[in-house]
Each structure stands twice: as structure tokens, then as C-alpha cells.
Symmetry: C2
Subunit: 318 residues, 2 copies
């Protein structure tokens, strides 16, 4: 079994590539030089075995996803990801070369892709595997995309498909990659700067997360169920189970939901090409401070059919 210091030296220092003006792993803290005319964006997400991912999740995927969920939050702010700290609580039975190599490779593969570096953290023993990452990015001053600035009349978009993350949890084979190694929409977030009036990632489920935007912006929304983007697998799952709200509430999708002014609609096609991510207009923001969401199908409100939704989303306590 490796000591805390040898784990850091062997598995985590290689993820820490930092330029000479900065100090990274190996001191009490990291020292980071600041770019001019930028603001710092900070996000934190904890992933616990058995709560946020199933026990059988491969260690590569645990590493990848622990970082991906944080980069997804940075993307929702329009931030350019830069560096992160990693707090790893490790049960004794996972303190072995095989597990640590796969886990750290999962983090490193995604970190390299988005050029973010590990600057520090803490490795401790625990009875439960738990990973907390605090990720940091930069935005130009006063450009961060917030939740509180959606306006009535804005169009509501969602990237990619919804429901695949939940489909993976249900064991649908074709959804497993989306569940285990989701792609954070970093490039999309950067391209939404100056365009989106609000954004959020839909990790807790589309309805639950859209509601955060509506509450913060003091508006309501109308969503067209018929145009919701779903994979064939999820459409089949709904047909078989009649769980119509599944993709709206299942969570574990790392797509962005965002709003834009109607007159900006023409810009969407260019962003789709640039990012290679499909963007679907699923409805519009309407007046009404109650943060209500009406869901329509064939131009009629179908709330009844969706009663079981109850805007549940993923919640940790009840």
C-alpha cells in the first residue's frame, strides 16, 4: 500500500504541468499568476461512490467524470478552464497500482484535452471512495454567463441529447459512454459568451436545472415536448416504459441549457458547426415570477401526462 506522499509523487504529479512563474504540487499551496482583465470562476463538485456513480464504475471513468462534472459547471459560466485541486478519499482496498493508474489516467486524459492542470489537493484514507474537485477558470471581466439574466421572450436551447446519462444508469448499453465519460461542453460555453442571456448545466435534470434559471431570473417557461432531443435508445425506452418524463428528470446529463434573445437565432448554426454539438430550441421564456414550466405537445399543455415528473430532479436529501 502506498503512502500519501508516494501516491501524489507517482500518480498526480504527472497531471501537474505548470509553467515556471507558478508553484504547483509540493508546497503548502499552489501559487498562480493572474491574467489581466479577467475574473476567476470557481466551481466545486463532489463525487461519492454509491451516490454519484455506481460501485461497478471503472476507475478510468471515475477519474474522467470527477473532473468532467466540474468542467461542465465552468462551461455553464462561459469560463475557460485553467487548473484544479483534487481531494481524494481512498478506501484501503483501492490503494493499489492498478486502480490508481486507471483513475489518474482518466483525470489526466480529460485534463490534457482541455489543457487544465492539477495544482494541489489532499489524499486521505476513508472507508468510502470520494472525490472533490475544485476547478478554476478565467472569464473576461463581467462576461460570465449567469442564471439570473434570462428575459421573457428569450428562446431556450439545450445541447446534445437529454436522457442518455439516466439511460446509462438504467443499463442501456448505448448510453454507457455518456454516463461514464461525459464530454463537458467547454467549447460551447466559450462560444456562448456575449450571446447567451443565461446558462446552466443539466446535471440534476433538465426541468430541475431550468427551474434554477427561471427562479433566479424571475420568469417562467414553455417547453415543447415534441422537439426534445433524444437518442433512439431513449425514445425506445420511453415507448416501452411510458415514463415520458424520464429524460426531463433523470439527471446525469452534462449538456448545457441556455437562453438567447430571439434576434440572435441566426448565430446558432455557426456555433453548431464550430463546436460539432447539436443545439435544439426546446421552448421559450415567458413572463411570470413563479418559475412555472408548461410542457406542451401538439400545441396543448400536457401537464397531466407528465404528472409523475413533479419537477423532481436529482436531490440528495428529502
Amino acid at each position: 500500500m502506498a503512502s500519501e506522499f508516494s501516491i501524489i509523487e507517482k500518480y498526480f504529479k504527472p497531471i501537474s504541468v505548470i509553467n515556471s512563474t507558478n508553484v504547483g504540487i509540493g508546497d503548502d499551496g499552489a501559487v498562480i499568476s493572474l491574467p489581466k482583465n479577467k475574473q476567476l470562476v470557481i466551481v466545486t463538485d463532489t463525487s461519492i461512490c454509491g451516490v454519484h456513480f455506481p460501485k461497478k464504475t471503472p476507475p478510468f471513468a471515475i477519474g474522467w467524470k470527477s473532473l468532467a462534472v466540474n468542467l461542465s459547471d465552468l462551461a455553464a459560466m462561459g469560463a475557460d478552464p485553467a487548473f484544479f485541486s483534487l481531494a481524494l478519499s481512498l478506501p484501503a482496498e483501492l490503494n493499489n497500482e492498478q486502480w490508481l493508474t486507471a483513475f489518474s489516467t482518466g483525470i489526466k486524459t480529460l485534463a490534457d484535452k482541455y489543457k487544465v492542470c492539477l495544482v494541489g489537493g489532499d489524499t486521505t484514507k476513508s472507508t468510502v471512495l470520494s472525490i472533490t474537485i475544485t476547478a478554476h477558470g478565467w472569464v473576461s471581466e463581467n462576461t460570465a454567463i449567469l442564471r439570473s439574466t434570462a428575459k421573457a421572450g428569450n428562446l431556450i436551447f439545450v445541447s446534445g441529447n437529454i436522457g442518455d446519462g439516466g439511460g446509462g444508469l438504467k443499463g442501456i448499453e448505448s448510453c454507457l459512454d455518456k454516463l461514464n465519460t461525459p464530454e463537458p461542453r467547454v467549447k460551447l460555453g466559450l462560444n456562448l459568451l456575449g450571446l447567451a442571456t443565461s446558462a446552466i448545466d443539466i446535471s440534476d435534470g433538465l426541468l430541475s436545472d431550468l427551474k434554477h434559471i427561471l427562479k433566479a431570473s424571475k420568469v417562467s417557461a414553455r417547453i415543447n415536448y415534441d422537439v426534445l432531443p433524444m437518442s433512439v435508445s431513449i425514445k425506445n425506452y420511453i415507448q416501452q416504459t411510458e415514463q415520458y418524463c424520464f429524460p426531463l428528470t433523470c439527471g446525469d446529463d452534462y449538456e448545457l441549457c441556455f437562453t438567447i434573445a430571439q434576434e440572435k437565432l441566426a448565430e446558432i448554426t455557426a456555433i453548431e458547426k464550430l463546436t460539432a454539438v447539436s443545439l435544439t430550441c426546446i421552448g421559450e421564456v415567458v413572463t411570470g415570477e413563479s418559475a412555472n414550466i408548461d410542457i406542451t405537445s401538439n400545441n396543448a399543455v400536457i401537464q397531466n401526462k407528465l404528472d409523475s415528473c413533479k419537477f423532481a430532479g436529482f436531490k440528495h436529501f428529502f
Copy 2:
């Protein structure tokens, strides 16, 4: 039982006092404006129930100490603490008003004292109570106190007393406050800027942490056992148990160990007055890349008497 969002709203938003140019709790991430000519210092420490603090620790102390251990790391860098994120993994049996109030008050009391604010985080359920804080501070460019810059001939100092943290763990009544609500040496760290050639906090034990400085700086040290600062309780404990190395290795002391050039010795008295913290010269840095520590008593090396030390320190895995 409260939901994640109501816990954040009720207990953690009050710790989040942030000025109008910044965005704090309630969006995907926090947005922080950057001061000019500064660098950002980032530290991360995880505290797990049963590993880093005993199960019977009062929740006020758990909150206080979780933040204190992070501020102590910032102090060791000479950083001015500014803000932090909090990842709380909470077992269901602690999700109640009494526990959450005491825990959040512990954090808030210390946060208010050092004017640091909570900018975000993540609250999740778990079977094990675990708190990860990532704390951020500012230093003027290229002034952070590192571990790697101690020089042979430098004097080695330690603040306060050593051994009280470990004494608290042994149940010594007069040491419990030092164990449960340690005072991070923030003001001392700030006053060491431009003076100390290296610094570290001795949370893992004086010998273990001093060794980190020696390794990083490629030097060795000679320590005078006879002058080590200890409380009467710890002196009595040593006399009764003959565990001479206890205060050197017990850990859980949140004092600073630092080095200064000999010609700067006169400045120490002024800093003691300014910070109201006693500073003791316990030895000196000597040449030798092996990071060896000789411990002397009555001018003789007494390694034999201290054999049981083995520079153990607090380690998570063996």
C-alpha cells in the same frame, strides 16, 4: 431532513458575504474579481470523521477546524486569506438543525475573524462525515514563502508550543482547545513575508514537516531538544510516559516552522509583540542534501534516546 438546496440557503448563505462585483453562492460557480499585482494561493484540506478528528468532536469544532487547517496552510505561504469553497458530505443522522447550526457557526466564527467568505461548494449525502475546503488567498507577486528556499546557516523557529494538538487527542484536558479550535497563524505568516526564507505548518508533526523543508531545500538541520517550546501539560506527559519524541511527531499542531537568515534575528521580537505569538529558535539549518535532522541535548546528539521517533509524523497509508 433538509434538502441540499435548503441546507445551503439556511446555513451556508450567511457565511457568503461577497461584494457586488462578484458572484457567489447560487450560480454554477463563483466569479471573483482579481486584485492587481497579486498572485493567487490555493490550498486544499480534507477532514474525515474518525480519521482527522474523533467521532465525539463537537460540531462547532468540526466546522472551525475544517477551515482552520486550510487557513494554516495559507499562513505558511504568507498569503492573505480571501475566500473558500466547502464540500460537505453529510450522513443522514447529522442532517438536523442542531448539528448544522453548530457546524456552520463554527465555520462562520473563524471566517468572520479572518474576513474570508464562502463562495460556493457542494453538499452531498454520504455514510461518512467528510469536509473538503479549498481556501484561496492573495500574495504580492513573487513573495510567497516556499519550502524550497531555506539556506544552510539559517535559524529554525517554531511558533507557540508543540505537542498540544496531540495532547488533546490523548485526552489531556488543558490541550483540548488547541486540538479542537486551533488558531491559524495567519497574522504571523503575513509578518514573515520578506523575512522567512522558508515556512511550513506542522500539522503532520514538527520532524515530518521540517523534513519537507529540508528535502525541498536540499539541506539538513540540527535541533536543540532542550529549548523546544512545550506546555506544562506536555512536559508532565513526557515525564510520566518517557515518550520524548511525542511532541515532535504527534501532529495536529497548527503552528508554523520557519527559517530566517541569522542577521534578521533582531526582527523576531517585534513580530512576537505584533502577533502576540511566542517564537522560539529551536536550531539551525546545516549543509547536507540528505535532509537529516540531528537532535541535541546538553550539546550532544541524543538520537538514541529518540529512536522511537523515526521521523514518523502522521501518515495516512503505510
